[in-house]
């Protein structure tokens, strides 16, 4: 069961995801939409990290470790993977935006439409 001793990080997670979705849905600038996606990603990453954290724990490194409770390493590995993927997606989206700007001369999402024919 998810430990709900300290709910602040979870509230932050929900807040970040909602802010990101808000930005994606209501902002018209393509760059702001991309920023919204990045915010959602940060929220999800924070969620993963928070799941692995235990109260008063140390980083999970065995080399010259002082001993005691360690936080879970698996969510940190997952977060890292997710960050790596995020970088790739971000780069791809930004380069699409460069091309879109070249073709349309605008970044307004409502004006970026495909050919009907």
């Amino acid at each position: 069961m998810i430990p709900l001793a300290n709910p602040v990080p979870y509230i932050a997670v929900i807040g970040l995801v909602l802010v990101g979705l808000f930005a994606v849905v209501f902002k018209r600038n393509l760059i702001k939409i991309v920023i919204g996606i990045t915010i959602i990603e940060s929220g999800v990453n924070l969620f993963l990290i928070t799941l692995g954290y235990r109260e008063n724990s140390i980083a999970p490194i065995y080399t010259s470790s002082p001993g005691g409770l360690m936080s879970l390493p698996v969510p940190q590995a997952l977060t890292l993977t997710s960050i790596v993927i995020g970088v790739a997606v971000l780069a791809l989206m930004i380069s699409f935006i460069v091309h879109i700007y070249r073709h349309y001369n605008t970044l307004d999402a409502s004006k970026i439409r495909g050919d009907e024919e």
Binding site: V25, K27, S110, I112
Partner: protein, 116 residues
């Protein structure tokens, strides 16, 4: 192996057998061939016999005779204009709206599972 391949497929109220179907196909082609044989062969090329008859009107250019895709189902789209207006409004082509639909569907599902 072979009898497995040509085994009959039963759906409950109907069935499908490749052999039966192939026989039907062959018969259908035979009928078509026979019907084709009734056609007249002794027409003269290059004369008025091969011209299209448009109630005496002159024939247009070939390009203009072709009905464009835009006009093929004109009647259908015209009579269902209200439906198409709605669909057109739905398909804005704006990426924000695509995500908005996703949020709406998620919200509906949350509502259903929350209420019940």
């Amino acid at each position: 192996m072979l009898d497995q391949i040509i085994s009959t497929f039963e759906t409950g109220s109907g069935f499908w057998n490749p052999l039966v179907w192939l026989t039907a196909l062959v018969i259908a082609f035979l009928i078509i061939y026979i019907l084709r044989g009734f056609g007249k062969r002794e027409y003269k090329k290059g004369t008025d016999q091969t011209q299209a008859f448009l109630s005496g009107n002159p024939e247009y250019e070939k390009d203009k005779m072709h009905v464009k895709a835009n006009n093929v189902y004109w009647g259908f789209t015209e009579s269902l204009k209200s439906v198409y207006n709605f669909f057109d409004k739905m398909h804005t082509g704006n990426v924000s709206d695509y995500v908005l639909w996703f949020v709406i569907i998620m919200g509906i599902l949350f509502l259903i599972f929350g209420v019940i």
